[in-house]
């Protein structure tokens, strides 16, 4: 087995064991949120149509992945920075990227209930059809990877770990209310639409919708833009984690 793969797998085990105390709680919370979200939509929109419900519920997986990558991931890193965790972890003979990739793998796996359940429950409750393509796997991995790398960049670039906490809180607010994940981009003001033409968020939502529904989405463009952001995130992450004081 190649050394990097051995290191990566052992670090996956390390991350899994480290997060184990809250994984079951996390699963339970995600299941609760998924159920609450689907049934809660009926209260928000009593006359919701299956098409609108499809749009809303298929935005949920993207939202979960974005929150995991941009909010929870950086917050975990910020608290690890405060506790001096990296002083130890980075003294181990495992590449720093392997360690972060292992962490992201566990994080991604832990979000699976939050990705799958809202869609399945939504389709059942609002009676709409799913059209799941095999491309959903690379799409989800790509969203998770770009979210994680961009999240890591924020977590390591911001000098003060406490600032990371604040920035991620602002970010989660911006994603929830001002990003075209749960609603079409046309509803935003023109200037915000222009910004979102460059940012990866709406393309991430397109990737999810385009691979699990029959909604008309430019998947090629979505893959290209998210992949480009993934490479940018990877590049920045490589620089920031390998720099020495």
């Amino acid at each position: 087995m190649p050394k990097w793969l051995r290191g990566y797998l052992l670090m996956v085990k390390w991350s899994f064991l480290s997060y184990r105390p809250w994984l079951s709680l996390n699963f339970a919370v995600q299941i609760g949120i998924a159920i609450g979200m689907i049934y809660g939509l009926s209260f928000f929109f009593p006359a919701i149509t299956p098409d609108v419900a499809k749009y809303l519920t298929t935005g949920a997986p993207t939202l979960v992945l974005l929150v995991a990558g941009f909010v929870i991931g950086p917050q975990i890193i910020a608290s690890a920075r405060l506790e001096g965790t990296f002083e130890y972890i980075w003294s181990l003979p495992v590449g720093r990227l392997s360690h972060l990739a292992a962490d992201a793998t566990v994080m991604f796996a832990s979000t699976l209930p939050g990705i799958v359940l809202p869609v399945v429950l939504g389709a059942f409750h609002f009676d709409f059809n799913l059209d799941i393509s095999l491309l959903v796997i690379p799409a989800a991995v790509l969203i998770a990877m770009s979210g994680s790398f961009l999240g890591y960049s924020i977590a390591f670039l911001v000098p003060k770990p406490m600032m990371v906490m604040v920035i991620t809180q602002i970010f989660s607010f911006a994603v929830m209310l001002f990003s075209p994940v749960m609603f079409p981009v046309e509803r935003l003001p023109q200037w915000l639409q222009s910004i979102h033409q460059v940012l990866p968020i709406q393309y991430m939502a397109d990737l999810t919708r385009g691979t699990i529904t029959d909604l008309d989405v430019n998947l090629g463009l979505a893959f290209a833009v998210v992949a480009a952001w993934c490479v940018i995130g990877l590049f920045i992450t490589l620089i920031v984690v390998n720099r020495r004081q």
Partner: protein, 314 residues
């Protein structure tokens, strides 16, 4: 020499000079102590050896390999116990030790055997299956030591390994440190616990304010004192410090204790003076003995507040 550190200087932002032209070398099978007060630059030096921090100038080679250019080589061959607690909250004691042993390249069965040996020797069986989040700080440090010792590298770096550990297990831990050296690893021991270090190290460097103030074997450093003696006075409670005669050199007061260096020619005068204080009930007791490593440490280090009390358990 296995590890060669030459003229290492590290200047952080705001011009903080953490290391100032430090040079030292460590051989295979040697226990080398790095002694100094908090903030002396010990951890900075260690972080440069394992590639966490980059020196401003100077060179570090391990086995002839430039580890500043190849930090991965250093991490491959240095096992490290950090000063901070290890991040093992969700792992059991045994899992943490085994996992690091395997990450460091050990084979599964051998790592299990070695982990169990260490747990037995350090009498840690009762915590073996407990998760890191539930064990005390002292036990965590024992686990951290085992994580560094389970698959030891060419160099084993231990940063304050005995903090928070009870006296009995400390003793066993020091035996294990020497065992690591007997098996060929070089051990770099970072501590401010002078008394314990004296019993364990083959050679040591005393650093303060980023500079090496003295280096050699404990015996050689004591020889350099030129036969000077060590006078220690313990004040009676609530007594103020008396005026000290000029022949008491480098006097240091720590709580009720006054320590000073006495030249051989002044010993008789010093005893007479101390007896007088005892008879006047100014001091509780006095001791005169050969200079200890602690005396040398105190003399070399400008800020003596960090010196641990004899027998003190931290």
């Amino acid at each position: 020499m296995l590890l060669e550190i030459n003229n290492i200087t590290k200047v952080y932002k705001k011009k903080i000079r953490a290391n100032d032209n430090i040079s030292l070398s460590i051989a295979e099978g040697e226990v080398f102590g790095l002694l100094g007060p908090n903030g002396a630059g010990k951890t900075t030096l260690v972080n440069q050896i394992i590639g966490l921090t980059k020196p401003t100038s100077g060179s570090i080679t391990l086995d002839g390999v430039d580890v500043i250019a190849n930090p991965g080589y250093a991490r491959e061959h240095c096992s490290f116990q950090a000063q901070t607690q290890v991040p093992i909250s969700g792992l059991s004691t045994l899992q943490a030790i085994e996992l690091v042993g395997r990450i460091r390249g050990g084979k599964k069965a051998e790592v299990r055997q070695r982990a169990m040996d260490l747990i037995d020797k350090l009498d840690m069986g009762e915590w073996q299956k407990m998760m890191g989040v539930t064990i005390s700080g002292g036990v965590r440090r024992l686990v951290a030591f085992c994580m560094a010792a389970v698959t030891p590298g060419k160099i084993v770096i231990l940063d304050e390994p005995t903090n928070d550990i009870d006296p009995l297990r400390r003793r066993i831990l020091w035996e294990e440190v020497q065992e690591l050296a007997r098996h060929g690893s070089a051990v770099l021991l970072v501590t401010h616990n002078v008394l314990e270090a004296e019993r364990v190290v083959d050679r040591l460097a005393i650093i303060d304010q980023g500079q090496v103030k003295g280096m050699g074997t404990p015996a050689r450093l004591k020889e350099d004192e030129g036969g000077a003696m060590h006078l220690e006075l313990t004040l009676e409670p609530n007594q103020t410090e008396p005026d000290l005669p000029d022949y008491l050199q480098n006097p240091v007061t720590v709580n009720r204790r006054i320590i000073a260096r006495v030249d051989p020619a002044d010993i008789t005068k010093a005893i007479e003076w101390a007896r007088g204080l005892k008879e006047s009930d100014i001091i509780e007791e006095f001791k005169l003995g050969p200079a200890t490593l602690e005396d040398i440490y105190v003399r070399l280090v400008q800020n003596p507040d960090e010196v641990e009390q004899p027998g003190e358990v931290t």
